[in-house]
C-alpha cells in the first residue's frame, strides 16, 4: 500500500507559538523547535510537491474551508500569546490543489469552499507549522480547516477527499496535522521555566498516545479518538478529530513507522512532534488491534508484558 500512497509521510505538530517565538525560554520549547527543524529537513530531502495542513486551530462553521490564496501574506498575532511577538508570514499556496481538494470534498458529499482573500486570518497553528517546516516556501502548501461540528464520518470523508485530490493531480505530499495532545493549558501566566503538563492524568494519557504513535498504530488511535476526547480534551469542539483525518488521508491501518521526535509541555498542554511513515510489515499483531485481520497470527504477547 505504501508504494501507491500519494502521501510520503505524516507529521503531528503542536499549535502554540513558543517553538517559533520563544524557543529559548525553556529546554522543552527548544526540543520542540529542534524536532520541527528535523522535520523541515526531512521534507526538504523528500520529493514532496506539497505540504497539506489540517489545523485544529482553524475552526470552521460553514462546511470546510480550504486556503487558496496564492500569496498569503500578513502579520499574525496570537489571541493569548500576543506578548511573545508577531508572526509575519508569506506562504505560497497551491491554488490548483486547493480547488481540486474542494471539489473532491464536494464529490464526497461535503459542503466545502476555498477562501481566497487578502488578509484572511490564517490561524496560529498553521502559521507556526508552515513557518518552521517550510520557511522559504521551497514547496507550496495548502491548509484545511477543522469544522467545529464535524464528527467522525465527516472528518473521515474530508481525509479521504485529500487523498483523492492528490491522486487526481498526481502530487506527492507531506501531510501535517496541527494539534495538541492534551489541550488543557494553565489558566494563569507562568514562568516558562516552570512549564509542565497540566496534570499527571493528562501526562499519562499523552504517554499512552505516544506509545501508539511510536508503534505506528494510526488506525488504533483513530478508533480511540472519542475516548481521548473525553479524557484529555477541553470540550471546545464536538470531537477529537486529528487521528481521523490523518488515518483517512494516509490509510486506515496500523502499518506505519512511528517516530516521536519530541514531547514537551506548552503552557500546560501536551505538545508533540511525531512522524508517521507508511510501511509494510507488522499487520494485525497489535494489542486491541483495529485492523481488518484476515488470518490469525497467534498470541499477541499482551499478557506477558507489563509488570513482572
Amino acid at each position: 500500500m505504501s508504494e501507491d500512497s500519494p502521501i510520503l509521510f505524516g507529521l503531528y505538530v503542536p499549535p502554540h507559538p513558543q517553538p517559533l517565538l520563544s524557543p529559548d525560554a525553556n529546554s522543552g520549547y527548544a526540543n520542540l523547535r529542534a524536532a520541527f527543524e528535523k522535520c523541515r529537513k526531512r521534507i526538504e530531502e523528500s520529493d514532496a510537491d506539497l505540504i497539506l495542513v489540517y489545523s485544529t486551530t482553524w475552526p470552521s462553521v460553514v462546511g470546510h474551508q480550504i486556503q487558496a490564496l496564492k500569496e498569503s501574506i500578513w502579520t499574525h498575532v496570537d489571541d493569548d500569546f500576543h506578548y511573545l511577538g508577531s508572526m509575519p508570514y508569506n506562504f505560497h499556496i497551491d491554488t490548483e490543489f486547493a480547488h481540486e481538494y474542494c471539489s473532491a470534498a464536494e464529490k464526497r458529499g461535503l459542503h466545502a469552499r476555498t477562501v481566497e482573500y487578502e488578509g484572511f486570518p490564517i490561524d496560529t497553528g498553521s502559521v507556526v507549522a508552515l513557518s518552521l517546516l517550510n520557511p522559504d516556501n521551497r514547496i507550496p502548501a495548502c491548509i484545511v480547516s477543522s469544522n467545529m461540528y464535524a464528527n467522525r464520518s465527516e472528518t473521515i470523508v474530508l481525509g479521504k477527499a485529500a487523498n483523492d485530490a492528490l491522486v487526481s493531480q498526481g502530487k506527492k505530499a507531506v501531510v501535517v496535522v496541527v494539534s495538541s495532545l492534551s489541550n488543557r493549558m494553565f489558566t494563569e501566566h507562568i514562568d516558562p521555566s516552570e512549564d509542565r503538563i497540566h496534570s499527571s492524568k493528562d501526562n499519562e494519557w499523552n504517554e499512552k498516545i505516544l506509545e501508539f504513535f511510536a508503534d505506528g498504530r494510526l488506525e488504533d488511535l483513530s478508533q480511540l479518538s472519542r475516548e481521548i476526547h473525553g479524557q484529555i480534551r477541553v470540550q471546545k469542539v464536538v470531537a477529537y478529530k486529528p487521528a481521523w483525518w490523518l488515518a483517512a488521508s494516509m490509510g486506515q491501518h496500523n502499518n506505519y513507522l512511528g517516530e516521536v521526535l519530541a514531547y514537551e509541555a506548552l503552557h500546560g498542554s501536551g505538545g508533540a512532534v511525531i512522524q508517521l511513515t507508511p510501511s509494510s510489515g507488522s499487520f494485525g499483531d497489535k494489542e486491541f488491534d483495529e485492523d481488518d485481520v484476515e488470518y490469525y497470527q497467534g498470541d499477541r504477547n499482551v499478557l506477558n508484558k507489563g509488570n513482572h
Binding site: 460553514v62 493569548d80 459542503h111 487578502e118 488578509g119
Partner: protein, 301 residues
C-alpha cells in the same frame, strides 16, 4: 472629579451579515441588503446614542477568546483590515479606531485587584476581532468615540457555565469600580447573539431573505422567554436562568458578556428597551439596551 458612571448598556449582536448588508465604504464585500429588522433597530439605537453624552464605549467580545485570563486592548490606535474567518465572503472591513487606554488600564488594575488573571494587549500588529468591529460600527458608524475591548475568557470550556457566570460577575463589578473612579461616562456593549445554533451551509446569495429563518422552534421559544424577561426588568432571573438557557440554545451568552454587563450595571430591575429581533443564518439576535436614566428610558418596541 465627579464619580464616573455607566450611561447605557447595550446588547449588540455582531453577525457580520449586518455590516455586509449595509455596504459601508470600509467593507470590501458588496450586498443587495438583507436583515432589515435588525439593521433598522440598530439605526434607531445609534440615533439614541447620539443624544447621550459619553466618553467611551467598553465592549466585551466573544471573538477575542483567551484562555489565560481576561485581556484588554492597550494601545491608543489600531488600524488594519478585519477579515471574518467564518464569513470572509461577507466581511473584510478596513478599520481605524481609537482606544481609551487610560480606562483600559484602570479596568485592568481593578480587575487584577479582584483576583482575576488579566493582561494588557500591547502588540501593535494585533487585529481587533470582528465582533468588536461589527457591534461598534452599527452602534456608532462615525467611530467618533474611543473604545475598550475586553476579551472573553473561556471559562465555560474549561470549567462550566456556572464558573463563567461567577467570573463574569466579578469582572463586571471590577469594571464598574474602575469606571466610577475614572470619572468618565461610559457605554457598555455586550456583543453577541442569543440562541446560536446556526446553519452549516450558506445560501448562494447570503442575503436571500427567503432562506432566512430561526434554526428551530425551541430556540425561538427560549429567545422569546429571555426577551420577555428583559422587558419585565427581571435581570436577576435572567442571570439565574442563564446556565440552562445557554445550554439549551447553545447561546452565545456562553462567553459571559451579558452577565458581565448586568453585574456592572448592578443587575437592573427596570425594563430594557427592545430594538428588534431577527434570525441571521439561523441564530437568534436581539438588539436591546438598558437605560438607567428614567427620563430618557422609553418603550421602543
Amino acid at each position: 472629579m465627579s464619580k464616573g458612571e455607566i450611561v447605557l448598556g447595550c446588547l449588540a449582536p455582531h453577525p457580520p451579515h449586518l455590516v455586509y448588508a449595509e455596504n459601508p465604504p470600509q467593507n470590501e464585500a458588496f450586498s443587495e441588503g438583507g436583515w432589515e429588522t435588525l439593521r433598522w433597530g440598530y439605526a434607531k439605537l445609534a440615533r439614541k446614542l447620539k443624544t447621550i453624552d459619553y466618553d467611551a464605549i467598553v465592549i466585551f467580545t466573544p471573538h477575542w477568546q483567551t484562555y489565560i485570563g481576561t485581556h484588554f486592548l492597550g494601545l491608543p490606535e489600531f488600524k488594519s483590515k478585519s477579515v471574518d474567518p467564518v464569513f470572509p465572503n461577507l466581511f473584510r472591513y478596513n478599520y481605524d479606531l481609537k482606544v481609551d487606554v487610560e480606562l483600559a488600564e484602570a479596568m485592568h488594575e481593578e480587575t487584577a485587584k479582584a483576583g482575576i488573571i488579566t493582561k494588557m494587549m500591547r502588540n501593535p500588529d494585533f487585529r481587533v476581532d470582528y465582533g468588536t468591529i461589527t457591534s461598534c460600527h452599527l452602534l456608532n458608524p462615525s467611530w467618533d468615540k474611543p473604545i475598550v475591548t475586553i476579551s472573553s475568557n473561556r471559562n465555560s470550556h474549561y470549567y462550566s457555565n456556572e464558573v463563567m457566570i461567577e467570573q463574569a460577575k466579578a469582572l463586571g463589578e471590577a469594571c464598574m469600580r474602575a469606571i466610577e473612579k475614572s470619572g468618565k461616562k461610559v457605554v457598555l456593549v455586550s456583543s453577541h447573539s442569543l440562541s446560536h445554533r446556526h446553519f452549516v451551509t450558506e445560501a448562494p446569495l447570503p442575503e436571500d431573505m427567503s432562506r432566512e429563518h430561526i434554526y428551530n422552534h425551541s430556540q425561538y421559544v427560549w429567545d422569546m422567554k429571555i426577551i420577555d424577561m428583559f422587558r419585565q426588568g427581571q435581570m436577576q432571573e435572567v442571570v439565574d436562568i442563564m446556565p440552562e438557557y445557554t445550554e439549551q440554545t447553545i447561546a452565545e451568552t456562553e462567553a459571559g458578556g451579558l452577565i458581565w454587563m448586568m453585574a456592572a450595571m448592578g443587575v437592573p430591575s427596570y425594563p430594557a428597551e427592545i430594538y428588534g429581533y431577527q434570525s441571521v443564518i439561523g441564530t437568534g439576535n436581539c438588539i436591546a439596551c438598558w437605560d438607567p436614566n428614567t427620563e430618557t428610558r422609553e418603550l421602543v418596541l
